[in-house]
Symmetry: C3
Subunit: 152 residues, 3 copies
Amino acid sequence: MSVAERLTELGLELPEVAAPVAAYVPAVISGNHVYVSGQLPFVDGALAATGYLGDEVTVEQGYELSRIAVLNGLAAVASVIGSLDRVTRIVKLGGFVASASGFTQQPAVINGASELLGEIFGDIGKHARAAVGVAELPLGTPVELELIVEFT
Amino acid sequence: MSVAERLTELGLELPEVAAPVAAYVPAVISGNHVYVSGQLPFVDGALAATGYLGDEVTVEQGYELSRIAVLNGLAAVASVIGSLDRVTRIVKLGGFVASASGFTQQPAVINGASELLGEIFGDIGKHARAAVGVAELPLGTPVELELIVEFT
Amino acid sequence: MSVAERLTELGLELPEVAAPVAAYVPAVISGNHVYVSGQLPFVDGALAATGYLGDEVTVEQGYELSRIAVLNGLAAVASVIGSLDRVTRIVKLGGFVASASGFTQQPAVINGASELLGEIFGDIGKHARAAVGVAELPLGTPVELELIVEFT
Protein backbone atom coordinates (compact mmCIF):
# COMPACT_ATOMS: atom_id res chain seq x y z
CA MET A 1 0.00 0.00 0.00
CA SER A 2 1.37 3.43 -0.85
CA VAL A 3 1.77 6.09 1.81
CA ALA A 4 -0.92 8.13 0.05
CA GLU A 5 -3.34 5.19 0.29
CA ARG A 6 -2.42 4.64 3.92
CA LEU A 7 -3.08 8.30 4.71
CA THR A 8 -6.48 8.04 3.05
CA GLU A 9 -7.24 4.91 5.05
CA LEU A 10 -6.39 6.86 8.21
CA GLY A 11 -8.69 9.66 7.11
CA LEU A 12 -5.77 12.04 6.71
CA GLU A 13 -4.38 14.13 3.90
CA LEU A 14 -1.16 16.05 3.58
CA PRO A 15 -1.72 19.75 4.15
CA GLU A 16 -0.21 22.54 2.13
CA VAL A 17 3.37 23.13 3.18
CA ALA A 18 3.35 25.82 5.82
CA ALA A 19 5.38 28.83 4.78
CA PRO A 20 8.39 29.25 7.05
CA VAL A 21 7.79 32.04 9.53
CA ALA A 22 11.23 33.48 8.71
CA ALA A 23 14.31 33.37 6.46
CA TYR A 24 14.71 29.65 5.86
CA VAL A 25 13.13 26.78 3.93
CA PRO A 26 10.74 24.02 5.07
CA ALA A 27 13.11 21.16 4.29
CA VAL A 28 16.60 20.52 2.92
CA ILE A 29 17.95 17.43 1.18
CA SER A 30 21.51 16.46 2.08
CA GLY A 31 22.71 13.12 0.74
CA ASN A 32 19.88 10.67 1.33
CA HIS A 33 18.43 12.56 4.26
CA VAL A 34 15.78 15.25 4.51
CA TYR A 35 16.18 17.71 7.36
CA VAL A 36 12.84 19.27 8.21
CA SER A 37 12.51 22.70 9.82
CA GLY A 38 10.69 23.18 13.10
CA GLN A 39 7.03 22.38 12.45
CA LEU A 40 4.14 24.03 14.23
CA PRO A 41 0.52 22.80 14.40
CA PHE A 42 -0.72 25.08 11.65
CA VAL A 43 -4.13 24.33 10.16
CA ASP A 44 -5.03 26.39 7.11
CA GLY A 45 -2.32 28.90 7.97
CA ALA A 46 -3.28 29.47 11.61
CA LEU A 47 -2.04 27.79 14.79
CA ALA A 48 -4.59 25.24 16.01
CA ALA A 49 -3.91 26.42 19.56
CA THR A 50 -1.57 28.52 21.66
CA GLY A 51 -0.48 28.26 25.28
CA TYR A 52 1.39 26.01 27.67
CA LEU A 53 1.05 22.37 28.53
CA GLY A 54 0.35 22.06 32.22
CA ASP A 55 -1.68 25.23 32.06
CA GLU A 56 -4.39 25.98 29.48
CA VAL A 57 -3.43 23.16 27.09
CA THR A 58 -4.20 19.59 28.16
CA VAL A 59 -2.07 16.52 27.39
CA GLU A 60 -4.84 15.27 25.11
CA GLN A 61 -4.84 18.54 23.18
CA GLY A 62 -1.04 18.49 23.01
CA TYR A 63 -1.15 14.92 21.66
CA GLU A 64 -3.47 16.06 18.87
CA LEU A 65 -1.34 19.15 18.15
CA SER A 66 1.75 17.01 17.73
CA ARG A 67 -0.16 14.83 15.22
CA ILE A 68 -0.98 17.96 13.26
CA ALA A 69 2.59 19.25 13.39
CA VAL A 70 4.14 15.98 12.22
CA LEU A 71 1.70 15.80 9.32
CA ASN A 72 2.88 19.27 8.35
CA GLY A 73 6.42 17.90 8.59
CA LEU A 74 5.60 15.06 6.22
CA ALA A 75 4.13 17.57 3.79
CA ALA A 76 7.48 19.39 3.94
CA VAL A 77 9.30 16.11 3.22
CA ALA A 78 7.02 15.38 0.26
CA SER A 79 7.62 18.87 -1.08
CA VAL A 80 11.32 18.10 -1.60
CA ILE A 81 11.36 14.38 -2.50
CA GLY A 82 8.06 14.19 -4.39
CA SER A 83 6.55 11.02 -2.96
CA LEU A 84 6.58 9.76 0.63
CA ASP A 85 6.92 6.25 -0.84
CA ARG A 86 10.61 7.10 -1.20
CA VAL A 87 10.99 7.27 2.60
CA THR A 88 13.14 4.40 3.89
CA ARG A 89 13.25 5.42 7.54
CA ILE A 90 12.03 8.05 9.93
CA VAL A 91 15.38 8.60 11.66
CA LYS A 92 14.90 11.22 14.34
CA LEU A 93 12.08 13.23 15.83
CA GLY A 94 12.78 16.18 18.09
CA GLY A 95 9.90 17.49 20.15
CA PHE A 96 9.75 20.79 22.01
CA VAL A 97 6.81 21.32 24.34
CA ALA A 98 5.96 24.74 25.84
CA SER A 99 5.71 23.72 29.46
CA ALA A 100 4.27 25.44 32.50
CA SER A 101 6.17 25.00 35.75
CA GLY A 102 6.09 21.40 36.94
CA PHE A 103 4.80 19.85 33.68
CA THR A 104 6.82 16.70 32.97
CA GLN A 105 4.61 14.70 30.57
CA GLN A 106 6.37 15.84 27.40
CA PRO A 107 6.64 12.21 26.17
CA ALA A 108 2.84 11.77 26.28
CA VAL A 109 2.46 14.90 24.16
CA ILE A 110 5.02 13.94 21.52
CA ASN A 111 3.52 10.44 21.33
CA GLY A 112 0.88 12.02 19.09
CA ALA A 113 3.57 12.46 16.45
CA SER A 114 5.40 9.20 17.16
CA GLU A 115 2.29 7.05 17.02
CA LEU A 116 1.09 8.66 13.82
CA LEU A 117 4.46 7.96 12.20
CA GLY A 118 4.04 4.33 13.25
CA GLU A 119 0.49 4.21 11.85
CA ILE A 120 1.60 5.64 8.52
CA PHE A 121 4.98 3.98 8.00
CA GLY A 122 4.94 0.83 10.15
CA ASP A 123 8.40 -0.50 11.01
CA ILE A 124 10.28 2.16 9.03
CA GLY A 125 8.38 4.75 11.06
CA LYS A 126 10.12 3.65 14.27
CA HIS A 127 12.44 6.52 15.13
CA ALA A 128 14.87 7.88 17.67
CA ARG A 129 13.38 10.74 19.63
CA ALA A 130 14.11 13.42 22.16
CA ALA A 131 11.33 15.37 23.88
CA VAL A 132 12.00 18.34 26.10
CA GLY A 133 10.00 21.06 27.81
CA VAL A 134 10.86 24.62 26.92
CA ALA A 135 9.91 28.00 28.33
CA GLU A 136 8.53 29.62 25.19
CA LEU A 137 7.94 28.74 21.55
CA PRO A 138 7.45 30.84 18.41
CA LEU A 139 4.07 32.55 18.12
CA GLY A 140 2.97 30.90 21.36
CA THR A 141 2.64 27.42 19.83
CA PRO A 142 2.36 24.67 22.46
CA VAL A 143 4.40 22.21 20.35
CA GLU A 144 7.24 22.36 17.81
CA LEU A 145 8.71 19.32 16.04
CA GLU A 146 11.79 18.70 13.92
CA LEU A 147 12.49 15.63 11.78
CA ILE A 148 15.30 13.82 10.01
CA VAL A 149 14.09 11.37 7.36
CA GLU A 150 16.09 8.91 5.25
CA PHE A 151 14.98 8.33 1.67
CA THR A 152 16.08 6.64 -1.49
CA MET B 1 42.30 -2.20 24.17
CA SER B 2 38.65 -2.88 23.41
CA VAL B 3 35.95 -0.54 24.62
CA ALA B 4 34.67 -3.30 26.88
CA GLU B 5 38.13 -3.62 28.47
CA ARG B 6 38.36 0.14 28.82
CA LEU B 7 34.98 0.28 30.55
CA THR B 8 36.10 -2.43 32.96
CA GLU B 9 39.30 -0.48 33.63
CA LEU B 10 37.16 2.56 34.46
CA GLY B 11 35.05 0.43 36.78
CA LEU B 12 32.01 0.82 34.55
CA GLU B 13 29.68 -1.54 32.78
CA LEU B 14 27.03 -0.94 30.17
CA PRO B 15 23.58 -0.99 31.75
CA GLU B 16 20.52 -2.66 30.29
CA VAL B 17 19.04 -0.50 27.57
CA ALA B 18 16.39 1.67 29.15
CA ALA B 19 13.00 1.06 27.61
CA PRO B 20 11.79 4.17 25.80
CA VAL B 21 9.20 5.98 27.88
CA ALA B 22 6.96 6.25 24.82
CA ALA B 23 6.31 5.23 21.21
CA TYR B 24 9.82 5.20 19.77
CA VAL B 25 13.04 3.16 19.85
CA PRO B 26 16.28 3.70 21.80
CA ALA B 27 18.47 4.09 18.70
CA VAL B 28 18.22 4.08 14.91
CA ILE B 29 20.90 3.25 12.36
CA SER B 30 20.92 5.41 9.23
CA GLY B 31 23.86 4.93 6.91
CA ASN B 32 26.93 4.77 9.13
CA HIS B 33 25.44 6.80 11.93
CA VAL B 34 23.50 5.84 15.02
CA TYR B 35 20.95 8.37 16.24
CA VAL B 36 20.28 7.86 19.94
CA SER B 37 17.03 8.88 21.59
CA GLY B 38 16.97 11.26 24.53
CA GLN B 39 18.67 9.49 27.41
CA LEU B 40 17.78 9.98 31.06
CA PRO B 41 19.89 9.03 34.10
CA PHE B 42 18.04 5.78 34.76
CA VAL B 43 19.66 3.30 37.15
CA ASP B 44 17.93 -0.07 37.32
CA GLY B 45 14.83 1.40 35.76
CA ALA B 46 14.44 4.40 38.07
CA LEU B 47 15.70 7.97 37.71
CA ALA B 48 18.80 8.49 39.87
CA ALA B 49 17.42 11.93 40.81
CA THR B 50 14.77 14.46 39.91
CA GLY B 51 14.68 18.24 40.19
CA TYR B 52 16.33 21.36 38.83
CA LEU B 53 19.93 22.44 38.61
CA GLY B 54 20.35 25.67 40.48
CA ASP B 55 17.78 24.49 43.00
CA GLU B 56 17.79 21.07 44.69
CA VAL B 57 20.31 19.47 42.31
CA THR B 58 23.95 20.59 42.57
CA VAL B 59 26.38 20.92 39.68
CA GLU B 60 28.34 17.98 41.07
CA GLN B 61 25.22 15.83 41.13
CA GLY B 62 24.31 16.99 37.62
CA TYR B 63 27.79 16.05 36.41
CA GLU B 64 27.33 12.54 37.78
CA LEU B 65 23.83 12.27 36.29
CA SER B 66 25.11 13.17 32.85
CA ARG B 67 27.75 10.41 33.18
CA ILE B 68 24.96 7.95 33.95
CA ALA B 69 22.81 9.18 31.06
CA VAL B 70 25.60 8.96 28.48
CA LEU B 71 26.45 5.44 29.61
CA ASN B 72 22.80 4.56 28.98
CA GLY B 73 23.22 6.15 25.56
CA LEU B 74 26.23 3.97 24.80
CA ALA B 75 24.21 0.92 25.83
CA ALA B 76 21.60 2.02 23.27
CA VAL B 77 24.33 2.33 20.61
CA ALA B 78 25.66 -1.14 21.45
CA SER B 79 22.15 -2.57 21.23
CA VAL B 80 21.97 -1.69 17.51
CA ILE B 81 25.58 -2.11 16.31
CA GLY B 82 26.63 -5.00 18.56
CA SER B 83 30.05 -3.84 19.72
CA LEU B 84 31.20 -0.36 20.69
CA ASP B 85 34.52 -1.24 19.03
CA ARG B 86 32.77 -0.40 15.76
CA VAL B 87 32.45 3.26 16.84
CA THR B 88 34.67 5.50 14.69
CA ARG B 89 33.59 8.87 16.13
CA ILE B 90 31.31 10.39 18.71
CA VAL B 91 29.91 13.08 16.42
CA LYS B 92 27.45 15.16 18.42
CA LEU B 93 26.19 15.37 21.97
CA GLY B 94 23.12 17.39 22.83
CA GLY B 95 22.55 18.18 26.47
CA PHE B 96 19.36 19.51 28.04
CA VAL B 97 19.56 20.62 31.65
CA ALA B 98 16.45 21.37 33.74
CA SER B 99 17.43 24.78 35.04
CA ALA B 100 16.07 26.93 37.83
CA SER B 101 15.96 30.67 37.18
CA GLY B 102 19.45 32.12 36.85
CA PHE B 103 21.32 28.81 36.50
CA THR B 104 23.88 29.18 33.70
CA GLN B 105 26.40 26.39 34.36
CA GLN B 106 24.93 23.91 31.89
CA PRO B 107 28.39 23.25 30.38
CA ALA B 108 29.77 22.08 33.74
CA VAL B 109 26.88 19.64 34.04
CA ILE B 110 27.20 18.17 30.56
CA ASN B 111 30.96 17.85 31.04
CA GLY B 112 30.14 14.69 32.99
CA ALA B 113 29.09 13.09 29.71
CA SER B 114 31.76 14.73 27.56
CA GLU B 115 34.63 13.76 29.84
CA LEU B 116 33.42 10.18 30.15
CA LEU B 117 33.28 9.91 26.35
CA GLY B 118 36.88 11.12 26.27
CA GLU B 119 37.93 8.62 28.94
CA ILE B 120 36.31 5.74 27.07
CA PHE B 121 37.07 6.60 23.45
CA GLY B 122 40.09 8.91 23.52
CA ASP B 123 40.48 11.06 20.40
CA ILE B 124 37.47 9.57 18.61
CA GLY B 125 35.42 10.55 21.65
CA LYS B 126 35.98 14.27 20.98
CA HIS B 127 32.59 15.54 19.85
CA ALA B 128 30.63 18.59 18.87
CA ARG B 129 28.21 19.61 21.57
CA ALA B 130 25.38 21.94 22.45
CA ALA B 131 24.18 22.36 26.03
CA VAL B 132 21.09 24.36 26.90
CA GLY B 133 18.96 24.98 29.95
CA VAL B 134 15.29 24.07 29.68
CA ALA B 135 12.24 24.68 31.81
CA GLU B 136 11.07 21.12 32.30
CA LEU B 137 12.15 17.61 31.32
CA PRO B 138 10.29 14.30 31.13
CA LEU B 139 9.49 12.68 34.48
CA GLY B 140 11.31 15.50 36.27
CA THR B 141 14.78 14.33 35.20
CA PRO B 142 17.48 16.98 35.75
CA VAL B 143 19.37 15.97 32.59
CA GLU B 144 18.56 14.56 29.16
CA LEU B 145 21.15 13.75 26.49
CA GLU B 146 21.01 12.88 22.80
CA LEU B 147 23.83 11.46 20.69
CA ILE B 148 24.90 10.97 17.10
CA VAL B 149 27.62 8.33 16.68
CA GLU B 150 29.54 7.32 13.55
CA PHE B 151 30.45 3.64 13.14
CA THR B 152 31.85 1.28 10.59
CA MET C 1 33.30 35.16 -5.93
CA SER C 2 34.88 33.27 -3.06
CA VAL C 3 33.28 33.22 0.35
CA ALA C 4 36.24 35.20 1.68
CA GLU C 5 35.64 37.90 -0.95
CA ARG C 6 31.92 37.90 -0.16
CA LEU C 7 32.64 38.34 3.55
CA THR C 8 34.92 41.26 2.77
CA GLU C 9 32.21 42.79 0.58
CA LEU C 10 29.80 42.48 3.51
CA GLY C 11 32.35 44.17 5.77
CA LEU C 12 32.80 41.00 7.81
CA GLU C 13 35.70 38.80 8.74
CA LEU C 14 35.85 35.39 10.35
CA PRO C 15 36.74 35.68 14.02
CA GLU C 16 39.16 33.45 15.86
CA VAL C 17 37.50 30.17 16.73
CA ALA C 18 36.04 30.51 20.20
CA ALA C 19 37.51 27.97 22.58
CA PRO C 20 34.84 25.54 23.74
CA VAL C 21 33.72 26.40 27.25
CA ALA C 22 34.06 22.75 28.22
CA ALA C 23 35.29 19.27 27.28
CA TYR C 24 34.46 19.12 23.58
CA VAL C 25 35.61 20.51 20.24
CA PRO C 26 34.24 23.37 18.13
CA ALA C 27 33.37 21.21 15.13
CA VAL C 28 33.50 17.59 13.98
CA ILE C 29 33.69 16.20 10.46
CA SER C 30 31.65 13.07 9.81
CA GLY C 31 31.42 11.96 6.20
CA ASN C 32 30.74 15.09 4.18
CA HIS C 33 29.10 16.98 7.01
CA VAL C 34 30.46 19.31 9.65
CA TYR C 35 28.64 19.31 12.97
CA VAL C 36 29.25 22.58 14.79
CA SER C 37 29.05 22.90 18.57
CA GLY C 38 26.71 25.37 20.22
CA GLN C 39 27.94 28.85 19.32
CA LEU C 40 27.62 31.88 21.54
CA PRO C 41 27.96 35.56 20.51
CA PHE C 42 31.54 35.86 21.66
CA VAL C 43 33.50 38.92 20.49
CA ASP C 44 37.19 38.87 21.33
CA GLY C 45 36.59 36.18 23.93
CA ALA C 46 33.74 37.88 25.79
CA LEU C 47 29.97 37.59 25.35
CA ALA C 48 28.65 40.61 23.44
CA ALA C 49 25.66 40.64 25.81
CA THR C 50 23.89 38.62 28.48
CA GLY C 51 20.25 38.44 29.52
CA TYR C 52 16.85 37.40 28.27
CA LEU C 53 14.90 38.33 25.18
CA GLY C 54 11.63 39.89 26.21
CA ASP C 55 13.38 41.47 29.16
CA GLU C 56 16.67 43.41 28.97
CA VAL C 57 17.61 42.24 25.47
CA THR C 58 15.60 43.61 22.53
CA VAL C 59 14.71 41.71 19.36
CA GLU C 60 17.04 43.99 17.42
CA GLN C 61 19.91 43.20 19.78
CA GLY C 62 19.08 39.50 19.60
CA TYR C 63 19.11 39.66 15.80
CA GLU C 64 22.60 41.15 15.90
CA LEU C 65 23.77 38.61 18.48
CA SER C 66 22.65 35.73 16.28
CA ARG C 67 24.64 37.23 13.39
CA ILE C 68 27.72 37.26 15.61
CA ALA C 69 27.12 33.69 16.80
CA VAL C 70 26.67 32.27 13.31
CA LEU C 71 29.85 33.98 12.12
CA ASN C 72 31.63 32.24 15.00
CA GLY C 73 30.06 29.03 13.75
CA LEU C 74 31.41 29.57 10.25
CA ALA C 75 34.85 30.15 11.75
CA ALA C 76 34.50 26.76 13.45
CA VAL C 77 33.56 25.19 10.10
CA ALA C 78 36.56 26.79 8.39
CA SER C 79 38.83 25.53 11.16
CA VAL C 80 38.10 21.92 10.20
CA ILE C 81 37.62 22.07 6.40
CA GLY C 82 40.08 24.83 5.59
CA SER C 83 38.08 26.98 3.18
CA LEU C 84 34.41 27.90 3.29
CA ASP C 85 34.44 27.59 -0.50
CA ARG C 86 34.14 23.86 0.09
CA VAL C 87 30.66 24.35 1.61
CA THR C 88 27.97 22.87 -0.64
CA ARG C 89 24.98 23.49 1.61
CA ILE C 90 24.04 24.94 4.95
CA VAL C 91 21.82 22.03 6.03
CA LYS C 92 20.41 22.83 9.44
CA LEU C 93 20.46 25.69 11.90
CA GLY C 94 19.26 25.24 15.46
CA GLY C 95 18.56 28.36 17.45
CA PHE C 96 18.08 28.58 21.21
CA VAL C 97 16.88 31.90 22.60
CA ALA C 98 16.91 32.69 26.33
CA SER C 99 13.35 33.89 26.69
CA ALA C 100 11.56 35.79 29.41
CA SER C 101 7.99 34.75 30.13
CA GLY C 102 5.70 35.50 27.21
CA PHE C 103 8.44 36.16 24.62
CA THR C 104 7.47 34.37 21.39
CA GLN C 105 9.51 36.16 18.70
CA GLN C 106 12.34 33.61 18.58
CA PRO C 107 12.13 33.46 14.75
CA ALA C 108 12.84 37.19 14.45
CA VAL C 109 15.94 36.75 16.61
CA ILE C 110 17.33 33.76 14.72
CA ASN C 111 16.68 35.54 11.43
CA GLY C 112 19.91 37.42 12.14
CA ALA C 113 21.78 34.18 11.54
CA SER C 114 19.55 32.90 8.73
CA GLU C 115 19.72 36.10 6.74
CA LEU C 116 23.48 36.36 7.11
CA LEU C 117 23.86 32.80 5.81
CA GLY C 118 21.76 33.83 2.80
CA GLU C 119 23.88 36.95 2.24
CA ILE C 120 27.11 34.97 2.37
CA PHE C 121 26.16 31.75 0.58
CA GLY C 122 23.15 32.62 -1.59
CA ASP C 123 21.02 29.60 -2.58
CA ILE C 124 23.26 27.06 -0.84
CA GLY C 125 22.79 29.09 2.33
CA LYS C 126 19.07 28.24 2.44
CA HIS C 127 18.72 25.91 5.38
CA ALA C 128 16.27 23.99 7.52
CA ARG C 129 15.84 25.56 10.92
CA ALA C 130 14.28 25.17 14.32
CA ALA C 131 14.11 28.05 16.79
CA VAL C 132 12.96 27.60 20.36
CA GLY C 133 12.85 29.65 23.54
CA VAL C 134 14.66 28.23 26.53
CA ALA C 135 14.79 29.10 30.19
CA GLU C 136 18.53 29.54 30.61
CA LEU C 137 21.67 29.37 28.48
CA PRO C 138 25.36 28.90 29.33
CA LEU C 139 27.05 31.94 30.88
CA GLY C 140 23.84 33.92 30.53
CA THR C 141 24.10 34.25 26.74
CA PRO C 142 20.86 35.41 25.10
CA VAL C 143 21.41 33.22 22.02
CA GLU C 144 23.03 29.88 21.21
CA LEU C 145 23.21 28.36 17.72
CA GLU C 146 24.15 24.96 16.32
CA LEU C 147 24.85 24.11 12.69
CA ILE C 148 25.11 21.18 10.31
CA VAL C 149 26.97 22.01 7.10
CA GLU C 150 27.54 19.85 4.00
CA PHE C 151 30.85 20.17 2.20
CA THR C 152 32.84 18.54 -0.55
